[in-house]
């Protein structure tokens, strides 16, 4: 057990030590994909400085109200507000010229209707003065009006192709979401599980940004065909992003 609340365990020490080592060898939490420099933001957003573009994936707005309407489970109706507040923090910090929401921005196609007026105004405020692209996802492909911005299935940006669901055999430079990757590190009876970016230098799969979006372990077979030669997971820590090799990652 340690100070600061979280139980101290030697594996957390080890993770921190590992992180420090990586920090020395790799000063910026970024990588290169199809010749484009990517910065992996601690918030789970992707910052393309050369294009002044911020990419966020799988916002799943109105997931709470979707549960209430479909199954009568009353999860706290603050997920949209929370997700937008996080997004606001990144936007205020980076001041992007363009924001790309990489699909599944709403949990279902009726999501925009159920949005509270305050949250709707928040979206409008975020969109003001910048280009805003909603990429279609599997949850929200039917959403194509009423929440500002423009709509697209894919978006090409320099050498990158931005789409919601990764496509097997895609050309180099694919940036996708959809899978909600999470990485788990387990040592000596303790486990840390965090959202993460996954990349093999050929494609990048982004973490889900939404407050209620769950996660799929990167050791799940769903990732195998996308990364046949292995990958590095970039886990979102409390203070920064940690690059962890596949061998260090545990299954659920």
């Amino acid at each position: 057990m340690t100070r600061g609340g979280a139980p101290l365990s030697s594996n957390e020490d080890a993770i921190l030590a590992l992180g420090q080592r990586l920090e020395r060898s790799n000063k910026l939490p970024g990588l290169t994909l199809a010749g484009e420099a990517l910065s992996l933001d601690l918030s789970g957003g992707l910052w393309l400085a050369a294009h002044r573009t911020l990419v966020v994936s799988d916002l799943h707005l109105e997931k709470g109200s979707a549960y209430a309407s479909r199954s009568g489970q009353f999860l706290p109706p603050y997920d949209t507000r929370e997700t937008l507040a996080c997004l606001h923090e990144v936007v205020a910090r980076l001041d992007p010229a363009c924001v790309v929401a990489l699909g599944d921005s709403f949990h279902d196609s009726r999501g925009p209707e159920r949005m509270e007026p305050g949250d709707r105004a928040m979206v409008a405020a975020l969109q003001e003065g910048r280009d805003w692209v909603w990429i279609a996802g599997n949850h929200d492909h039917a959403v194509n009006e009423g929440v500002g911005g423009r709509y697209a299935d894919t978006l090409a940006l320099g050498g990158l192709t931005l789409r919601h669901e990764p496509v097997a055999g895609a050309a180099e430079g694919e940036v996708a979401g959809h899978l909600h990757p999470c990485g788990k590190v387990a040592m000596r009876g303790r486990a840390v599980r965090r959202r993460c970016f996954v990349s093999d230098g050929h494609r990048l799969v982004m973490p889900a940004f939404g407050a209620y979006a769950g996660g799929l372990n990167v050791r799940d077979p769903a990732f195998d065909p996308l990364f046949p030669k292995g990958f590095t997971a970039h886990l979102l820590g409390d203070g920064r992003v940690f690059a962890i090799g596949r061998a260090m990652l545990a299954r659920d």
Partner: protein
């Protein structure tokens, strides 16, 4: 009170068996015959169950009343209900009473359940969860309208948990559906019988309009032992409550004292005990020998890990191949049933068991109870002792087996407590809001409710007697739409208030959801352990199907296993082969394999406040030491020489350097949970004081914190530094800040969320994995805490944390106690007392049989240092 005479048929039956009715049995007949409720407190073997049913049997044997359910019996264990049904058969058949008795548990087939509602038996035996389902039934009002008597068995065990809250609300509904209902509580000896007497009867008779028996009487049987606190004369009630104001409503009290004093001792093996560790490996030969000399022995341990270890060790010694079995909560249910059946049939010589056998069926032939490890509580140990010899006039025989030197102190304290018949059962509970939320939805499923009448009914239940109208409204609002300040879910409301002012459930689907989620027991997510087969043709290849299921392990534990790891389970050393869907596959490890003992927690009880105070008193008073084993006395003498022994109310704090770090140890003796919380809070404060704390370890007796800076300088330079560090105000902001981000709080919140119906309960075979649920509740917790920190479920989780895993209540008591009583000793090396808690460091997971040797080695090194 006029003496009751048994009807002739009953008197003849007693005579035919060579029995005469006991006084308390007759008293219950009199009290219940007068339409009054009663609490029967009696030791095991006093014929408690028969006493509870006698009034109903007599009434049912009389002139035939209208058909329908007459008596409802509720037990915490379904096995107990089934067993009681069997025991009732004999008198009913032999007296030819023509009474129909049935059980209703989770195992009862649905056609039988429907039939039980259409054509109810005379006596129905069930569990608190099934009662909740029954009163939520559309036909509940009719089913219970003629109910005369409700019997609550093992009441002392039920009232200490949320199950007790749920049962109290069910009982309140029964009192309302059948005014004048007699409630009979059966209980082991408890510290405050008045708490249970209140639990049985409505706390606001006048308002509910039920016919109140305006007074409760006490009947004392046997001899009142001095100092037991139960010898006060009959309390005429109603009397002014201590809080001033209202009246006190209590059931009558019938106490059966005495029985023969138990023959209880500490097992002396003559060997030196380690300073830490809980396996009691050194005592195994002596325990085996005791088993050989007795008919049937129950060997109680405190955790499943200890159960596995003990079972393994006994079989290692078992040259005579005595039938020794294992029983704990992780084993497959059918396996547990087989063990119970073999025990009942007298085929076993010993069962190694955990708290799973604390309650339950009368074994009959048990002639010795052995309790390994610290007793943790005086009442608990008396319950366990009572499992031996169910005849109250013969002494129960039992041994306490300490596993380390501290436990010797604890065993001594427990022996003293048993001698004085002192009790340390917990205080009465404040009803949990999450349980109330579940009940409110259930009652809306039964029928439309009027909020005013319903509020009166709920506050008639003792745990909810102080519930305010506003708090009640908040719960109703939560059930209807989630209780959120942002009114987002109005149009999806689960219960709706009609123009007539009554609340009704929205639809059949909501009612179905309620039925699927009823109950307050939230099991840790578990995975099955299945024995896999090696493929003959290809050694090393595992066939995933076909093997037997051995039981279940916590998912958290399974996740820490990697293929090839070995662990003790179900009495065998298994090799983990991998996870397949929701099952852990394992093969039998080769002979002589050292297992990595599972770290699954099982039931772990914190040391009771009462025993802790006695242990402190023992240490503080050298005149008491001659009653302790010599190795303990010597150890205490060493401590006095090297450092100091604290007084009974003092807190000893020691500081010393070791291996490049600085240590601070403290000995509050308040139990592991309270110490863990203390450690969390102290390290926060030490961080602010720039002492750079690095970690801490805690056990039942004390904590050790290690840090990068030397605290001795600060303590010497700054007067009052330690006092400020241990000041009570740590329970303010520091506690709040820590709780908010602690994983304990998230787990507690998840349980409240499931009970209150926010998150659906999972059932085996459902596709969704527990991991997903855990994650979503963590996400929900974070979002809710940020946006509505005063939400009902967060308040419920905090209320739980205060008494449960965080034990803030006890920590607060300790901090008040030690004000101005901190004794600081700056040492240049570790003291004997500190060694005991230092040995907890790094004990998260213990490996194999080598573990104790390694610990002993570490201990020897530390000791050498201390005594050099």
């Amino acid at each position: 009170m006029p003496e009751a005479a048994l009807p002739e048929r009953f008197a003849a039956w007693f005579a035919s068996r060579g029995w005469s009715p006991r006084q308390h049995q007759l008293d219950l007949v009199t009290i219940a015959g007068a339409g009054r409720s009663a609490l029967l407190v009696a030791p095991t073997g006093a014929g408690k169950t028969l006493a509870g049913f006698l009034p109903s049997l007599i009434a049912l044997a009389g002139p035939r009343r209208t058909k329908g359910l007459h008596t409802l019996y509720v037990s915490p264990l379904k096995a107990l209900a089934v067993d009681i049904a069997r025991n009732l058969e004999a008198p009913i058949a032999e007296m030819d009473l023509g009474i129909r008795v049935e059980t209703r548990t989770g195992d009862t087939p649905s056609h039988k359940r429907s039939r039980q509602v259409e054509r109810p038996p005379d006596i129905l035996l069930t569990t608190p969860e099934q009662l909740a389902l029954l009163i939520a039934h559309r036909e509940a009002a009719e089913l219970f309208s003629g109910l005369s008597c409700v019997v609550l068995d093992e009441l002392h065990a039920l009232v200490t948990s949320k199950r007790g809250d749920l049962l109290s609300l069910g009982l309140a509904r029964l009192h309302r559906l059948s005014p004048g209902l007699t409630a009979i509580g059966l209980s082991a000896t408890v510290r405050e019988p008045d708490d249970l007497r209140r639990y049985l009867v409505p706390q606001n008779h006048r308002r509910t309009g039920a016919s109140p028996p305006p007074c409760g009487e006490e009947l004392e049987m046997g001899v009142v032992p001095p100092g037991s606190g139960q010898g006060h004369p009959a309390t005429p009630t109603p009397d002014p409550s201590p809080q001033g104001g209202g009246e006190v409503f209590m059931a009558d009290l019938v106490v059966v004292h005495g029985g023969a004093a138990p023959d209880l001792r500490m097992l002396e093996t003559g060997r030196a005990l380690p300073l830490a560790g809980h396996t009691a490996g050194q005592a195994m030969p002596a325990i085996y020998e005791l088993i050989g000399r007795h008919r049937t022995v129950l060997v109680f341990v405190n955790t499943r890990l200890q159960a596995e270890y003990t079972f393994q060790e006994l079989w290692r010694l078992n040259e005579d191949a005595l039938p020794i079995a294992l029983h704990h909560g992780s084993l497959d249910a059918s396996q547990r049933r087989r063990v119970e059946a073999a025990m009942a049939a007298g085929q076993l010589r010993a069962i190694v068991c955990t708290a799973t056998l604390d309650l339950g069926i009368d074994w009959g032939d048990v002639d010795l109870v052995i309790n390994i490890g610290a007793p943790k509580g005086a009442s608990r140990i008396m319950q366990r002792i009572g499992r031996a010899n169910h005849r109250m006039d013969e002494p129960s025989k039992a041994y306490l087996v300490p596993a380390n030197r501290f436990e010797m102190l604890e065993c001594r304290a427990a022996l003293d407590a048993v001698e004085e018949a002192a009790q340390d059962t917990p205080d009465a509970r404040l009803g949990a809001p999450d349980v109330l939320a579940q009940h409110v939805l259930g009652m809306a499923c039964a029928d439309a409710f009027d909020p005013n009448a319903f509020y009166e009914e709920i506050t008639s239940a003792a745990p909810y007697a102080t519930l305010s109208w506003e708090a009640f409204e908040a719960v109703v609002d939560y059930v209807a739409t989630g209780g959120y300040a942002l009114r987002a879910y109005e149009r999806f409301a689960k219960i709706l208030r009609g123009p007539d002012g009554l609340w009704r459930v929205r639809d059949a689907r909501t009612a179905q959801q309620y039925r699927m989620n009823v109950g307050t027991i939230i099991e840790a997510t578990k995975v099955k352990v299945r024995l896999a087969r090696q493929m003959r043709a290809k050694p090393g290849t595992i066939m995933p199907r076909g093997g037997r299921v051995l039981g279940e392990i916590e998912e958290d534990f399974a996740e820490t296993l990697t293929p090839g790891d070995t662990f003790l389970f179900a009495g065998e050393v298994l090799r983990f082969e991998g996870l397949s869907e929701d099952e852990a596959l394992a093969t039998r490890a080769g002979p002589g394999t050292d297992p990595a003992i599972p770290s699954y927690a099982g039931a772990k009880f914190p040391l009771s406040t009462f025993l802790a105070a006695r242990v402190r008193a023992l240490i503080a008073d050298p005149f008491e030491w001659d009653r302790l084993p010599r190795q303990v006395t010597e150890y205490l003498l060493q401590q006095r020489r090297r450092s100091v022994l604290p007084g009974a109310a003092d807190l000893l704090v020691e500081t010393f350097p070791r291996g490049g770090r600085y240590y601070l140890t403290a000995f509050p003796f308040e139990g592991r949970l309270a110490h863990q919380t203390l450690g969390m809070l102290l390290t926060r404060r030490m961080e602010r004081a720039r002492l750079r704390p690095l970690g801490f370890a805690a056990n039942d007796y004390g904590i050790a914190i290690w840090m990068a800076r030397d605290p001795r300088e600060r303590i010497a330079e700054e007067p009052g530094f330690l006092e400020a560090l241990f000041a009570e105000d740590m329970l303010g902001d520091d506690l709040e800040a820590w709780l908010d981000e602690s994983s304990i709080m998230k787990r507690t919140f998840r349980q409240c969320a499931v009970i209150a119906g926010l998150i659906e309960r999972r059932y085996p075979g459902q596709k969704k994995t527990g991991r997903q649920v855990t994650i979503s509740t963590d996400l929900v917790y974070d979002v809710l805490r940020k946006h509505q920190p005063d939400h009902l479920l967060l308040r419920a989780a905090r209320q739980d944390a205060a008494t449960g895993l965080v034990d803030v209540g006890r920590l607060g008591m300790m901090l008040r106690r030690i004000q101005g009583r901190i004794i600081h000793k700056a040492l240049d090396r570790v003291s004997p007392l500190s060694v005991s808690v230092m040995l907890e460091i790094g004990r998260e997971r213990v490996y194999g049989e080598g573990a104790d040797e390694i610990l002993a080695e570490a201990e020897a090194q530390l000791l050498e240092e201390a005594l050099a």
